[in-house]
Assembly symmetry: C2
Homo-oligomer: 140 residues x 2
DNA sequence: CGGTATCCTATTAGATACTG
DNA sequence: CAGTATCTAATAGGATACCG
């Protein structure tokens, strides 16, 4: 079994105060866990409470077992999610945000909700962009 | 030449108020443009002003021509970035955020800066997570 | 239930070469 | 300068099977 994200490069930007814009800075990796396709949705789901594995799978529409598992591990490793396993039979595992995770999720949700709230503008921009392109392509 | 993101699924969740958690909702696509690896960094760079193509390439460390071009097109199509081309020779093209893009970038930067500011905690969590795993793996 | 291991495909990203 | 085209390599992602 391989580590989750070991190949994340050297930690040689401590002095640069963790600048995401630099390659090989660990903050870039964490940012990707947070904003990545499944990371963002998982944090979003957990922002509303504590959930079990399969509850999360249903909430995060379209995620596979594999990706959810991988995502949860990455977030747990980064200290954003806490995993609470009861050694019962059948097993019961609950996932919830840590205080740090909650703080991150809050900022993430602010972004998500803002984007959702302006989707009409985005769709309008897309329509006009595509309209221009098609007229340009049309005249060969 | 193919459209940038046409296969983004039907727009059948207008009634669900653009729920990112649903598959095939356009807000998920836009969210991915915004939070994606290069999208986030590009918006971050443009948050500090207007830049030319190669200036951006230098600011967003590690991005290839291809990915920057692709990213900028997606963001332009979503109405977040404005492209200003002067038909001079040599050509000069400036990119800057639209008002909507600025609003998005602000929320995004809040998230990025927060994560950067807490990287010490993240790194600590990683260290302790890895320590536990290695002791577990060690006892075979 | 709550996962992991494996295999395989699709998408993404990078290098390189070239154009207006 | 500001890209596009093309090819290849790396990675993400999904399906399936199986374990505790």
């Amino acid at each position: 079994m391989k580590p989750i994200a070991q190949a994340e490069g050297a930690v040689d930007c401590q002095d640069l105060a963790f600048d995401v814009f630099s390659r090989h800075c660990p903050s870039r990796g964490t940012l990707e866990h947070v904003t990545g396709r499944w990371g963002a949705l998982t944090l979003g789901a957990l922002h509303e409470g504590s959930f079990r594995f399969n509850e999360l799978r249903r909430r995060v529409d379209g995620v596979s077992e594999k990706m959810l598992s991988q995502t949860l591990h990455a977030l747990e490793r980064d200290g954003l999610v806490h995993r609470e396993a009861q050694p019962t039979n059948p097993p019961r595992v609950d996932y919830e945000l840590t205080p740090l995770g909650r703080a991150v999720a809050e900022r993430l949700m602010a972004l998500i909700h803002f984007v959702e709230g302006r989707m009409d503008e985005v769709l309008e921009a897309r329509a006009s962009y595509d309209a221009k392109r098609s007229t340009l392509d049309g005249r060969a």
